[in-house]
């Protein structure tokens, strides 16, 4: 009996304790007159750049004393789960971050507020235009990064192979990779994931196109497409580690490169800082093309929630976060993703940083960029293209069959 009374009292206490503590992030409504609170959700500050984002927020709040920015940072892997649930429940932040691939889905579903009177001149035009949908501006570019070819200078020297140059083609890469691969000492010549992201890029490097101009039909199952897919898939096991060698396990490629066992590596410029302390000399170069050059570019954008009550303040904040000099300086100083500003003089400090020596390549690559092909059912398309290519790489299907199957399935997604 005493036990029961004790229990009941305890439960009542816990209930009271847990029910009354509503979080600071939810108690926003009570902002004083003339002040507004902008809630901002993002993924790109997670794991390393939280403090840099705080610095930008502070600079913004100093310049706009009437606006308080409340930041919520969610890891990329869980970001969209959380964002969708919040949109469904009507609690999404006033402003949030979207990568270009997901932008189309949100814009075409009416979740985003149209941005009015944006000063577009501060942004690099191609990046700004990426966030237009049906002739309306639904976002501003926040940052971008691209993919280049990393290479281990020591391994090239050791094997007596000439280092890659900007004029390299696939053939040069293949020949060098073959010479650099030494299965006895577990050194691999090349690494390029077999995935959607790599495929649309090599397709562009081979002069093919993924979708038709109206984005109503997939066109990648072409002679160019088959050749591009073969270029990618036939590396596996020959000059590039297979899944059975460990490819696909977390951070496999970065560890392999850093341990000096990988000669060439197709990856993003976000790997500059993690590789800064690699115990050997390495550099980067624009990726080789076949019939033409094409470098993958990934863009993050900033958007305003269509349901936001603080749309004006929110737009002010995202404009600041996208294009202010404070942001540009912070991004460059901390090796975050690159700012999307039009004025290239502002990017100069980036080139002055030490490793890798050939930072120019990052900007040269931008001359011939390729953005991911985007449809409304983006994730499904990416998953199925990757799955088909993986099947081909594992030898379960021919490349031709895999591409034909992928094309049929993507067309199915475009119809629904």
């Amino acid at each position: 009996m005493r036990l029961l009374k004790f229990g009941v009292a305890g439960l009542a206490g816990i209930l009271a304790l847990t029910a009354c503590g509503q979080g600071s992030a939810t108690k926003e409504a009570a902002a004083p007159d003339g002040k507004s609170v902008v809630r901002y959700m993002n993924f790109s500050a997670n794991d390393g750049h939280e403090k840099d984002l705080t610095a930008i927020v502070n600079a913004f709040q100093t310049a706009n004393p009437n606006i308080t920015v409340q930041v919520e940072t969610v890891p990329y892997a869980n970001y969209f789960t959380k964002l969708q649930t919040a949109v469904a429940g009507g609690t999404a932040a006033d402003a949030f971050e979207l990568n270009y691939e997901n932008f189309v889905t949100y814009a075409s579903n009416g979740s985003l507020a149209e941005l009015k009177s944006v000063d577009s001149s501060v942004y690099k035009k191609s990046l700004y235009d990426a966030f237009t949908s049906d002739g309306k501006q639904y976002g501003v570019p926040e940052s971008f990064s691209n993919v280049v070819l990393f290479y281990n200078k020591a391994l090239f020297k050791q094997a007596g192979v000439a280092e890659p140059t900007a004029s390299w083609t696939w053939k040069d890469e293949q020949a060098a990779a073959a010479k650099l691969t030494n299965k006895g000492s577990k050194v691999w010549g090349d690494y390029q994931p077999v995935s959607y992201n790599e495929f649309y890029k090599v397709l562009a490097q081979n002069g093919g196109s993924f979708l038709n101009a109206e984005r109503t039909e997939a066109t990648f199952n072409s002679p160019e497409g088959v050749e591009a897919a073969k270029f990618l898939v036939e590396k596996v096991g020959k000059t590039m580690p297979t899944e059975a060698d460990g490819a696909g396990t977390p951070d496999f490629d970065s560890k392999l490169f850093k341990s000096g066992k990988l000669a060439m590596w197709h990856t993003g410029i976000w790997m500059f800082s993690p590789m800064a302390d690699a115990p050997f000399d390495w550099d980067v170069v624009v990726e080789p093309g076949n019939t033409r050059k094409a470098s993958a570019m990934f863009v993050n954008g900033l958007v305003v929630n269509a349901a936001s009550k603080n749309a004006e303040a929110a737009q002010k904040w995202i404009s600041f976060l996208a294009s202010s000099d404070d942001t540009t300086k912070t991004r460059l100083a901390t090796s975050w993703e690159l700012p999307p500003v039009a004025d290239e003089a502002k990017l100069a400090p980036y080139l002055d940083q030490p490793k890798p020596a050939n930072r120019e390549a990052v900007f040269t690559a931008l001359d011939e960029p390729v953005l991911p092909p985007v449809i409304e059912r983006q994730q499904e398309m990416q998953d199925l293209v990757t799955a088909e290519l993986t099947s081909a790489a594992a030898g379960r299907k021919t490349v031709e069959k895999a591409l034909a199957d992928a094309q049929t399935k993507v067309n199915g997604l475009l119809k629904k």
């Binding site: 816990i14 847990t18 992030a25 939810t26 997670n46 469904a88």
Partner: protein
């Protein structure tokens, strides 16, 4: 000889069970701990850097306190609500009893992944999103606990109740003085699983919590995985931090699971 074989088998098995945990600990103290190369059993320069990084990366004490509060509350609630329901189903007779018990079990049959969005909208409607209560709510009662405890109550000989009823005891007294002490092993088991369920829960806290001051441990550990790279030594340090409290809870509960024999007094 048989005993020796038994020992050998059990010890080999234990090594296999212990191995991943050991690997976790070792990776967490290896400088630049990596998973790509497989585990090593000897660490050249053991370091606590990963744990320091963990301390810097997040308000770990606050996060641990949140997780503990919710896990303990959820355990206490499930023990109380579960044992009462178990008594009801095992000892009382009422119409539709099996159907109602079926409804309890049915709550276990729809995956959380599909309930998360409706539940979130419900919480928002009740204006309870982003509170401690929201974290706790789905684990106040669990059909798993009710079921496990019902099995235990059913195993308590009915003669004991009957004797007490003759002595004039009511349901409440039978429940608290006869049934509860006799189902201690099952209560301890439920406590372990309730604590663990809450402690490891990820999807629901992810969705319902917005304010950093309510962050729980699995959410905190998830922030260690970057979009492009992950510091595995820090992730592993986080895993060690998350395993140790449940291991302690289990060790505490285990005494009761064993002690159960001495106290049952069933002759």
């Amino acid at each position: 000889m048989r005993r020796f074989l038994l020992y050998a088998a059990v010890l080999v098995g234990a090594a296999v069970m212990l191995f991943p945990f050991l690997w976790t600990v070792i990776t967490s103290i290896t400088p630049e701990g990596s998973l790509a190369d497989g585990p090593t059993l000897v660490v050249d320069n053991p370091t606590l850097d990963a744990y320091r990084t963990l301390l810097d990366a997040m308000p770990i004490w606050r996060i641990l306190a949140n997780s503990l509060l919710i896990a303990i509350a959820s355990t206490v609630f499930q023990l109380v609500t579960g044992s009462m329901a178990a008594y009801g189903f095992a000892r009382l007779n009422f119409p539709l009893k099996n159907v109602i018990f079926g409804c309890y079990l049915a709550t276990l049959m729809v995956p959380l992944q599909v309930l998360v969005v409706p539940l979130f909208i419900e919480m928002k409607t009740l204006n309870l999103q982003d509170t401690y209560f929201a974290l706790l709510a789905p684990t106040i009662a669990s059909a798993f606990g009710v079921f496990l405890l019902r099995q235990a109550v059913t195993a308590v000989p009915a003669e004991l109740d009957e004797a007490a009823t003759i002595d004039g005891a009511g349901h409440l007294r039978i429940f608290t003085t006869i049934v509860l002490p006799l189902i201690r092993p099952a209560l301890a088991t439920v406590a372990v699983f309730a604590f663990m369920g809450s402690w490891n829960s990820f999807l629901w806290p992810l969705v319902v919590i917005r304010s950093p001051e309510f962050m729980t441990l699995p959410l905190g550990l998830a922030t260690l995985q970057g979009q492009f790279t992950t510091q595995w030594d820090v992730v592993m340090a986080g895993s060690v931090v998350s395993i140790v409290p449940i291991a302690i809870v289990y060790l505490l509960a285990q005494r009761h699971i064993i002690a159960g024999v001495a106290h049952t007094g069933i002759k």
